[in-house]
């Protein structure tokens, strides 16, 4: 031991070299961790995170597609019904096709000279009906008898599911009491085109 101690006694030049080596070592460690190992590890971690995220997405996508397929089967009745309901709203402005349609309808029911005029149009408050508009119409039937009116109203209510009669006024004609004059206020749900 005694022999070693004198051997470890370093000269000034050696101490300087040793200090320089230590500084070099620290710099080497810093460069290694900051510019090589650190970025590599962070890159690896981010890739691992991406893999996990994508694997979750891929696994979820299978469920999503299975659900969509099931929903497609379950919704077949609803889609058919929806298509039927949308077909009740032809292309074009409702004011262009609804009054003629009513005129033809009542004419087929032996009620002539029918007029229909648009009172107003209001959007629905329900979010589900954002593509639909409620149109309020006034339909005047200047002359009809009660029995014919009843049949016509029944046929109208059965053939136009999206139409509802909100107000009905029937009054006898003074000059010909067997006939009545009728005013209907109806609301229709019409798809925006």
């Amino acid at each position: 031991m005694k022999n070693l101690i004198p051997n470890l006694s370093l000269s000034k030049d050696q101490i300087q070299k040793l200090a320089l080596s230590s500084i070099g070592f620290v710099v080497l460690l810093y460069v290694y961790f900051s510019f090589f190992l650190g970025p590599l590890n962070s890159s690896r971690d981010s890739m691992q995170t991406s893999i996990n995220g994508l694997q979750v997405k891929v696994a979820g996508s299978k469920n999503e597609m299975a659900k969509a397929a099931n929903l497609e089967k379950q919704a077949s009745a609803a889609t058919t019904r929806y298509a039927a309901l949308t077909n009740l709203s032809p292309e074009g402005a409702p004011i262009a096709w609804f009054p003629p349609r009513m005129k033809t309808f009542f004419s087929n029911q032996q009620i002539e000279k029918t007029t229909a005029r648009l009172e107003n149009s209001v959007p629905y408050k329900d979010a589900e009906l954002s593509k639909w508009v409620r149109h309020n119409w006034i339909i005047d039937l200047p002359q009809t008898d009660f029995s014919t009116l009843g049949k016509a109203v029944a046929e109208l209510e059965n053939s136009e599911p999206l139409l509802s009669i909100n107000h009905l006024n029937v009054h006898a004609l003074t000059e010909d009491p067997q006939f009545q004059q009728v005013n209907l206020t109806v609301a229709t749900a019409i798809l925006k085109r």
């Binding site: 996508s61 889609t79 589900e128």
Partner: protein, 272 residues
Amino acid sequence: MALHLNLLHEEIREQRQRQRDPLKIGMMVLGGLGALMFLYYMWNAYQTLGIRNRLNAVQSDWSKVEPKVTAAQKRSAELNGIISTTKVLDGMIDSRFFWAPFLEILSRSVALNAQITSIDGTVLDDNRGVSVMIEGLAAGREPRAAAEELRQLLFEQIVQRYIPPYPAVNPKYDEGFKAGYDSAHVSGPARAEIAPNRHDDRIFNDGFIAGTAAADKANKEVKVEFKTLEDLDTLVKIGGTNMAMAHFSLSVSFNPSATASAAPPPAKAPKK
């Protein structure tokens, strides 16, 4: 003891000093550490390359699946929209008030000695029911009685049409419900005939009580009241006989949606 002379003593010392040069030792240690760190870095880089390959494979899988998933999600949203819209539209369709049956009821309620001159009906907002104002003329020896007959008949017809009997879920319960419902419209001995004494039958009695309650509620929901009823000076000839006339104005109000739900929930099975 033999004497050893070391003539190369200085050279050996210098050689030992060279060997123990701290800078040299430090450089060797640094080199060793550098080699270890390099190897560790290469090992990590190798692993990272493997992960990158896995990432590429997963990305490739996802890129194949993604368009299908996006399309499926879009279709799901579209279908859900269609389902909910159809549901709301069906709700609107089902909750409509149909005027044709009401007009039919009215035509059946008007006897030969009465004439309706005006009908003004409105469906009230927010499911608050239907309000109808009916004006007309009644003729007869007692024209007011003829008008009252029309009023009562109209009331009965509306109750029958818009307050449906309780749906059959249990024959005994339904029998009791019907008996209770019918007994609510009559009183006295007739009521006792309709309501047989079956206190021992619990299901029947439950139905009877529910039927009575439903009928009472229906009677409250349906209102057919005279607003005006006045005799006229004019006489009318019916069948060759002069009859007095009365002008009446009837206010009819009822709520089909409320009366339809007036029936109680199905009776629970009795505990044994």
